[in-house]
């Protein structure tokens, strides 16, 4: 569980708060999506959840963030990292090895996993992420989507309770983006990992996440189950956040027919809703 309480943060070099009085609870086993326009503080919030802030980036930090009961300000980043795995926005700067298996070994070695266990953990992580066939490949020979999976596997191997990812599909095509989200869903549902994702691709996010938090100008302006958040289309429009066309369709349909139409996030749901309205 992640608990963010009255969190205000300002980077050392900055003149304005990156986050202002943020309160947010991410329960165990949740799949939370964070959305918001550029500069809203999404990455900052993610870094606060993983403890990178305040440890790696200096600044004024007020309030408290607790991860799995540990206060991030009072615990070392290394200890927090056992609980939270972070995938950075630029995967290429995160990967430090030239071969896939070495990348996954790295964290296992550092965190002192007994050597007789390491082999199994390595194999298991590759399998969970579905990249067993890439084990001996060089990183340079992999596609963007495959590299993203390697980065995820290198964290999954450490068996964190929570995985936080910063725009994991930013550079990927629609097909690979969907694959990454499918993988995150598997990790969330079958392996019980709590997943927090910052993402611009709202359509994909709404389909896979179960909760959304909307950030604007350093504040959380809305938080809750996906459909609840997407039902407030005027708010999303006002702050300049895209909304899945299916959700737009369902809200327009409700308005025009004067009937109750559930908020739809996928094309399939919208088709069903339309058929029900037409009888």
């Amino acid at each position: 569980m992640i608990e963010v309480q009255s969190l205000t943060f300002r980077y050392e070099v900055s003149e304005r708060d990156a986050l202002r009085d943020v309160n947010l609870t991410v329960p165990d086993g949740a799949f939370l999506g964070i959305i918001g326009p550029a500069g809203a503080g999404k990455t900052t919030l993610l870094h606060c959840m993983s403890g990178i802030i305040p440890h790696a980036f200096p600044g004024d930090f007020y309030g408290a963030v607790r991860v799995g009961g540990l206060d991030t300000a009072d615990n070392r980043l290394t200890d927090l990292s056992r609980l939270v795995g972070t995938v950075f926005q630029d995967v290429d700067s995160q990967i430090i090895s030239s071969v896939v298996e070495d990348e996954i070994l790295y964290g296992l070695e550092n965190f002192g996993v007994p050597h007789e266990e390491i082999g199994d953990r390595l194999t298991a992580a590759l399998e969970q992420v579905g990249i067993s066939s890439l084990r001996e490949r060089t990183i340079a020979s992999l596609s963007g989507g495959q590299r993203q999976k390697v980065a995820i596997a290198s964290l999954v191997a450490l068996r964190p309770q929570i995985l936080v990812l910063d725009e994991p599909t930013g550079e990927l095509d629609p097909f690979s983006s969907r694959q990454i989200f499918t993988l995150l869903r598997t990790l969330n549902r079958e392996h019980g990992m709590t997943v927090v994702v910052v993402e611009q691709k709202i359509m994909l996010l709404s389909e896979f996440a179960d909760r959304l938090a909307v950030l604007n100008d350093g504040e959380i302006v809305k938080e809750g189950p996906v459909r609840g958040v997407l039902s407030d289309i005027p708010l999303l429009e006002r702050i300049g956040v895209n909304c899945p066309r299916a959700a737009l369709f369902s809200s327009l349909l409700a308005e025009k027919t004067g009937t109750e139409v559930p908020v739809c996030v996928s094309a399939e749901e919208a088709v069903e809703a339309a058929r029900r309205v037409m009888g």
Binding site: P37, A38, D173, P174, S176, L252, T257, V271
Partner: protein, 274 residues
Amino acid sequence: MIRAENVSYSYPGNAQTVAGLSFHIEKGEFAAILGENGAGKTTTVKLIDGLLKPTEGKMTVNGLDTAKSRVSERAAQVGFLFQNPDRQICRNTVREEIAFGLRAVWGRREEDKIRTRTDELLERFGFTGDEDPFALSRGQRQQVALASTLAPSPAVLILDEPTTGLDYRECTRIMDFIRQLNEEEGTTVVMVCHDMEVVLDYARRALVMAGGRLLADGPVREIFRDEALMKKASLLPPQIIRIAGELGEGFREADDAETLSSLVAAKAERRRGA
């Protein structure tokens, strides 16, 4: 305007990346190139720009054979906006940045003309000119890159995933600007884009690629409605097109949420009346 005749390209020492491309894009068109990663989209636009020369076949832009002229010579006619603005931006102020590209194309002796044009673009994009590009947000840097790409008024504008890393508002701003340019000044636009909603909203023609070959070429909506084709190219059509297609006869023509919801509401109304 852009004419590809049986163009193939292979990176040195590799298998062919694109093969047998033939298409013809007229002046004033707005075309999108679609396909999954590795389909050859970026290679194709680089071939159009002349950054790559065909290993076989012939590519002509505005009547000039790309293999026989230098890219830097053609920069006045063809503008290329890259995915990452940081590779383009190299000056300390926005004004200098725009002027830098103009100087490269027009030459240093045209300072007056360069100043006028720079002022014009600064105003159009809402910059004062004194901003430090590296202190701007990603979306604003992309606008600076676009402004300097457009500065020499190229007849052809190539966009390689111009909206990557931008939020919705920034994306809309950039794309609206490009549409305006296309409609008002007749600039030919060729765009590589992964966001099918953006393609639907802005492009009129789509070229679909897979495995380095051209699979299909036609009006955007027709292309998106061809389910078999979309599947073959590993593409997912925009949500509204999928919903409309699924609802079948009478709805298929709708391509935005407004129209489609009206059609559905009207049918529901008729049902209730009957």
